[in-house]
Amino acid sequence: MILEVKNLHKIYNSGTHALKGVSISVEAGEFLVIIGLSGSGKSTLLRCINRLIEPTSGKVKFLGKDITHIKGEELRKVKSQIGMVFQQFNLIKRRSVLTNVITGKLGSLSTFNSIIEKFDKEVINEALNNLETVGISEKAKERADSLSGGQQQRVAIARSLMQNPKLLLADEPVASLDPATSNSVMHYFEKINKDFGTTVICNLHFLSLVRRYATRVIALKAGEIIYEGLPHEIDETWFKTIYGEEAEEVEIR
């Protein structure tokens, strides 16, 4: 088991109770998709897993190690083993694509070398390889903000690949992309999952994408898990429970 989350609670300083006792366990090689409305706690859950935020109570175990409240050097080491891709890509806009990809390696570079931006040949080659993997190696020298949304997201994926992640988290990676681009970006997650055996946990909105890529689905509602199962088992009734009575399924191909 690569990840185990037990009875996790997160209460923000504002008083919002975002997670109410969430428990999941993830086997290595899975493509787990988390669905749910905005504000259901999906993002909070991902950020508790790679410890961008600290859970209020409960337990997060990564590779058998309790990481719920670790700090400092230990925490950075864990973070460097978990890749993350965001809805807004979160690239450094004014820097080149290559530099952006290399930032994925910062956890294992010395502070001094990374500030004078002196990178080993190996690191640069690794970055170029990863750009190759997501199919945009020809854009390496261009400024990150000159790329289209889909291309930027692929750069972000390449950046996370620099970490050689055992676990890849994706927080609504296609929510700001058009349908066609969404499919191509999801395709790269699938490729990474199948080719490198990287475990993927992904927050998604579109059920058609969920059915196509997920090996398992979890649905969150108001900070609690209300559904857990295989993607094709989500039927009309479940859909209405997860997204509310008003909801209607939108196809995306």
């Binding site: 209460i11 080491k77 890749g83 930032t103 910062l106």
Partner: protein, 358 residues
């Protein structure tokens, strides 16, 4: 283990409780403000309007006893007035009764305050149309404007050197300010310093110090430093430097506070340390605003360096002061024209550069 609230309190109760607490607090604030407003009106009525305008006294009589009595009257009136919940302050803090009396008191009292303030200002500034159009005044104006159009070119060389000195004072103050400002701005940016208590204390103390330094005008700093290091360009430069650091640290740190959080989150998720996060996620986002602020500040500093010269900060301002003291208006005319020209050029250049880098 689980941090669930033990006793469930109905949310409406919490809201009501907070509302009562807030009302009480607002009531106290309203009393204080009402006392102040009544006190202010009475003082203005007595001193500006009665003594100065109606009695037309040259020397205003002053006694603490009188002020004390006026203050006591205001305290009593203020408290009584606030208690009726119809006063202006009650309205401002949202605890007034919603009726006709409130509406009328608020309207009448606001008008009253505005008018007595305007009239008092008129009296204090000795506003006089007669002075502007008196024949003596017109002659003086003719002298100055005439001199402006017939500048004395004999001192052009000296003035040129002096104005170059001014530009250099401004340039050096701006350049030296950059490294300390950069450093300070990171320590005064809330989003970088809120992580732990020590950092937040540093942030808070630095902010207070910088606010204090900034609230003292460069002109006053120039007076302080002309005593400290002696009259001359050096004093002017340090005065500008001190003020530039304090003001730009605020602008810089606000630029840091306004950056996108996303890249910070992304870089920190790779396991990068604090320095790497700042270098890769913060610095690229603030470089351009910083550059823009700094160039703009140079432009401001050229103007300020001129003013600072008036109190002995060197450069063209000091020269202007000397000729003005000697009443040599043609020389003053030349200096004023040169200052206007340089300020205009600086303004134009800095605007162009700032346009270009964005």
């Amino acid at each position: 283990m689980i941090a669930e609230p033990e006793v469930e309190i109905h949310p409406q109760k919490i809201i009501d409780r907070n509302k009562r607490k807030e009302d009480k607090f607002n009531f106290i604030k309203a009393i204080l403000l009402d006392i102040f407003l009544v006190f202010y009106s009475l003082i203005v009525l007595q001193r500006a309007i009665y003594f100065k305008f109606i009695l037309d006294l040259r020397e205003l009589p002053f006694s603490w006893n009188e002020i004390g009595i006026i203050y006591l009257i205001s305290v009593v009136t203020g408290i009584l007035w606030t208690s009726t919940k119809t006063s202006l302050s009650c309205k401002l803090f949202g605890i007034a009764k919603d009726n006709k009396i409130t509406k009328w008191t608020v309207e009448i009292f606001s008008w009253f305050l505005f008018n007595i303030t305007f009239i008092a200002g008129w009296i204090v500034t000795k506003f006089s149309i007669v002075d502007i159009f008196s024949s003596e005044g017109i002659q003086g104006a003719q002298r100055i404007f005439g001199a402006l159009f017939q500048p004395e070119m004999g001192i052009f060389d000296d003035a040129l050197f002096a104005i170059i000195e001014t530009i250099y004072i401004a340039l050096l103050a701006t350049l030296i300010s950059i490294p300390p400002t950069l450093l300070l701005s990171f320590f005064t940016a809330r989003n970088l310093m809120r992580d732990n208590k020590i950092a937040f204390t540093v942030y808070y103390v630095l902010r207070i110090i910088l606010n204090f330094i900034r609230s003292i005008e460069p002109l006053i700093w120039a007076i302080i430093f002309s005593v400290w290091v002696g009259i001359g360009p050096y004093a002017g430069m340090i005065a500008l430097l001190v003020h530039t650091i304090a003001s730009n640290a605020k602008l810089y740190s606000e630029a840091i506070e306004n950056i996108e959080e996303g890249p910070i989150e992304a870089i920190s998720a790779t396991g990068a340390n604090k320095i790497q996060i700042v270098w890769y996620a913060v610095v690229p986002q603030i470089l351009l605003p910083f550059l823009s602020f700094t160039i703009y500040r140079w432009d401001i500093n050229v103007r300020m360096a001129t003013i600072i010269g008036l109190v002995g900060g060197g450069g063209i301002g000091t020269m202007l002061m000397q000729y003005q003291g000697l009443a040599r208006w043609h020389e003053v005319g030349l200096i004023v024209l040169m200052i206007a020209f340089v300020v205009w050029v600086m303004d134009y250049i800095s605007a162009r550069i700032r346009e270009a880098i964005y």
